[in-house]
């Protein structure tokens, strides 16, 4: 019997995915372990290696199609086998994932549990989410990009689709502006009807300025959310609805850190130079070791004190944000943290982060200093006790010993989960972080302190 390949769970929080690219074609021979597709998850585009071998009998999923976890995406088997038979046995029906999804979803969740056993919290969070993913399969994928119903005859629609034309860009001459076959044929002949590159030009509004010139009104545009945006929307809504945030801001003198970084970078070879953010990650990690309640996770009737200190670093990427994780950050040297965060940042921008690069974080650092932001409050990543929002290092006038002096200063704000930690504790923790940053040599000592 042929084997049905299911859409795999490639990240902890993945509930649906998109086959971004097929790397195989109908009739190809596939070996176990061979990369057969690139799958876009809520976090990254990942290579998917086949668990099975055989000939490709059927590609069920179309490139770009959004499918729920466990939906059949392809059928492998012996030459000449009937793929529909396997599909029917799989879940009845050859269509996308409608009937197939409910059964395999719990299995997929179980697989994920095995592979991500280290991250008990993440599994607990994602497993129940897998079951309701089935209805998501009815989501219309091939919607008109403008999300507006264009009146068109069926054959006009088909012709436009076959010639890759945009119905919205073709003038309909039928009743009520219906686009008919003749209109599409005309567009094909004249080479028009392609999707407009520029946004809609807009129309004159009813209002005019002092010289009688009309203001321009432009139409709204609806944009389909990427998998990443959907994940951000889901996680941030969950965080703000479920986590009682409180915020503490502290001002740090960065003169010594400034000098330390300059000296350090002069002493080490090219390629291992550190950034201020590396210093901050190191300071945060060492401070977390001393404050278990800030390195914790709320779990109903108990708090889970995390054994490891894994610091996530928020990285802005095109159309979103990802948080790769530096593991065991409290035990790693500045050079190691610097090297890893550089590599993770590059992977993030190239969309090549693996799920394990992004899972298991216990605390997050978000830095908007490079944009000149003085201070801000970040949203806690669900499952963590806090996030440190870091502002710009700026020369500012401060009063020191009764005198007004100019110092390099930086503001940092912790957003903390009030269910597992209280203001006084987080304040002490902030003081600890400030201590490291105001005296960086302390970070180079072995013991905690």
């Amino acid at each position: 019997m042929a084997i049905v390949v299911e859409l795999p769970r490639l990240s902890d929080t993945m509930e649906e995915g998109v086959v971004a690219n097929w790397r195989i074609a109908l009739g190809d021979k596939v070996k176990r372990g061979q990369v057969i597709a690139e799958i876009e998850t809520d976090k990254a585009t990942m290579e998917f290696e086949s668990f099975d071998s055989g000939y490709v009998l059927l590609l069920v999923a179309e490139e770009g199609e959004t499918l729920p976890l466990g939906a059949p995406i392809a059928v492998l088997g012996k030459k000449g086998e009937d793929p529909q038979e396997a599909l029917a046995a799989f879940g009845g029906g050859s269509g996308g994932g409608e009937a197939a999804a409910p059964a395999p979803a719990p299995e997929a969740a179980a697989d994920a549990a095995a592979s991500a056993a280290a991250d008990a919290q993440a599994v607990a969070e994602s497993a129940p989410a897998a079951a309701p993913s089935a209805p998501a399969s009815v989501e219309a994928v091939h919607v008109d990009p403008k999300d507006r119903r264009i009146p068109a005859s069926p054959v006009a629609r088909r012709l436009a689709r076959e010639h890759d034309l945009e119905l919205a860009a073709i003038t309909g001459t039928g009743p009520h502006g219906r686009v008919v076959k003749a209109d599409v044929e005309k567009a094909i002949a004249e080479g028009t009807g392609k999707a407009a590159a520029a946004p809609a030009a807009g129309e004159f509004s009813g209002e005019v300025d002092g010289w009688g010139r009309p203001y321009v009104s432009r139409p709204d545009d609806s944009v389909r959310l990427s998998m990443m945006r959907k994940a951000i929307a889901r996680n941030m809504t969950k965080a703000k609805q479920e986590t009682p945030h409180y915020y503490l801001t502290m001002d740090v003198d960065m003169e010594k850190a400034f000098a330390f970084r300059a000296d350090f970078n002069e002493a080490v070879p090219e390629g291992t130079k550190i950034s201020f953010n590396d210093l901050i990650v190191k300071a945060v990690a060492r401070s977390l070791r001393d404050f278990p309640s800030v390195n914790a996770s709320f779990d109903g009737d108990k708090a889970i004190i995390r054994g490891d200190v894994n610091v996530g670093i928020a990285v802005a990427v095109e159309d979103g944000l990802v948080v790769p994780v530096v593991r065991y950050a409290d035990q790693k040297s500045l050079e190691a943290i610097s090297r890893e965060s550089k590599a993770l940042g590059k992977s993030a921008r190239d969309k090549h982060l693996r799920p394990e690069d992004m899972s298991g974080g216990t605390f997050t650092v978000s830095n908007l200093g490079m944009f000149g932001i003085e201070s801000f409050a970040a949203v806690i990543n669900p499952g963590e006790a806090g996030i440190l929002a870091v502002g710009a290092i700026e020369s500012r006038p401060v009063v020191q010993g009764g005198e007004l002096v100019i110092r390099k200063r930086m503001k940092m704000t912790i957003s903390a989960d009030h269910r597992v930690t209280d203001g006084a504790v987080a304040a002490k923790w902030l003081t600890k972080v400030r201590g490291y940053l105001e005296n960086p040599l302390k970070m180079l000592t072995d013991g905690p302190g």
Binding site: S153, P154, V155, A156, V180, K181
Partner: protein, 325 residues
């Protein structure tokens, strides 16, 4: 080739089958001594005698039932209705016996019978004598329904109907008995269930049958003068429907008009629309149009009757509409 009227083609079909098979006989009102109300049985009484050309009283239920019984015991009756309007009297025989006996006896009996006669509106016959029974009989499983518009089709299809092991409803038209056409001298049969392209075309599929065939051909000529190329398909058999021919044409032209004698509610026209929208949805460029009777009992008044019957201009207008002209 002989040039015959439809009534002569029908007579020749019956005569040849009666010569070929002694089980075949004709029964109905005025079929014998009067030579047929529309002279479709001219000369048959003289040739075959009163035992095989049977004049009946005005008792449609009775002679339809006799015919069905004769068919059950092995004969091959042809029952002529002076008009299909009178078949309403025999409807129970056709609905509950002819169409169902083969099924209800588990195949022990079959009913190889032909009910034939003129159908639909003619000229000023009033509400009760102007009705088209196409939709009513095509609705019934167990029956085959044929409707002819040329001498060639009439002869070839009637011979097939007589030889068919099932009950066949065979529609003719009072106003078309004198229509002439070429008919081969040698024997031929036209299979039941095959439509015929009466005029090939590229831009609109015009599906029709019976009395609307010549009207549709006229409409196609009007369209041609206008640069619109219409394909005219004569269904010839209404049940079973030659959907392959229809769908093939609609996929080519992307537009369909259905023109026929019959009321608009339900019926063969509606059945066609259903199949076209299901089987050729992605090929349609316009909603399918129907040109048929108005949804009213027929008027006796000539001018009002004329308005109710599909005219070439009406069909041409529908062709323009689906072509967005």
């Amino acid at each position: 080739m002989a040039n015959l009227q439809i009534r002569e083609a029908i007579r020749d079909a019956m005569r040849e089958e009666m010569e070929r098979d002694e089980r075949v006989f004709l029964m109905g009102e005025e079929v014998g001594h009067y030579q047929g109300a529309y002279k479709c049985s001219q000369g048959l009484l003289e040739q075959f005698g009163a035992k095989r050309v049977v004049d009946t009283p005005i008792t449609e239920t009775g002679f339809s039932g006799v015919g069905i019984g004769a068919a059950m015991v092995g004969l091959r009756p042809i029952i002529e209705f002076m008009t299909f309007n009178f078949s309403a009297v025999a409807f129970d025989q056709i609905l509950n016996n002819a169409s169902k006996i083969h099924h209800m006896t588990g195949g022990q009996f079959s009913v190889p019978i032909v009910f034939r006669g003129p159908n639909a509106a003619a000229h000023m016959l009033g509400s009760t004598h102007s009705q088209a029974f196409d939709g009513i009989y095509a609705h019934i499983p167990g029956l085959k329904v044929v409707s002819v518009a040329t001498p060639y089709d009439a002869k070839g299809l009637l011979k097939s109907a007589i030889r068919d092991p099932n009950p066949v409803i065979f529609f003719e038209s009072e106003l078309m008995y004198a229509v002439r056409g070429e008919v081969p001298e040698e024997e031929y049969l036209i299979p039941i269930g095959e439509a015929d392209i009466k005029r090939p075309g590229e831009q609109v599929t015009l599906i029709t049958w019976g009395q609307s065939v010549p009207t549709s051909l006229e409409a196609a000529k009007l369209a041609e003068a206008d640069g619109l190329d219409v394909e005219v398909i004569d269904l010839r058999t209404l049940r079973p429907l030659d959907e392959a021919a229809v769908i093939h044409s609609v996929k080519k032209t992307n537009r369909a008009v259905i023109a026929y004698h019959g009321w608009p509610y339900g019926g063969v026209g509606a059945e066609l629309v259903d199949r076209i929208q299901r089987m050729a949805f992605d090929w349609l460029d316009a909603p399918v149009e129907r040109v048929c009777y108005d949804d009213i009992p027929f008027s006796y008044a000539e001018n009002l009757e004329h308005l109710s019957i599909p005219q070439p201009e009406d069909i041409y207008a529908a062709c323009r509409k689906v072509a967005y002209r």
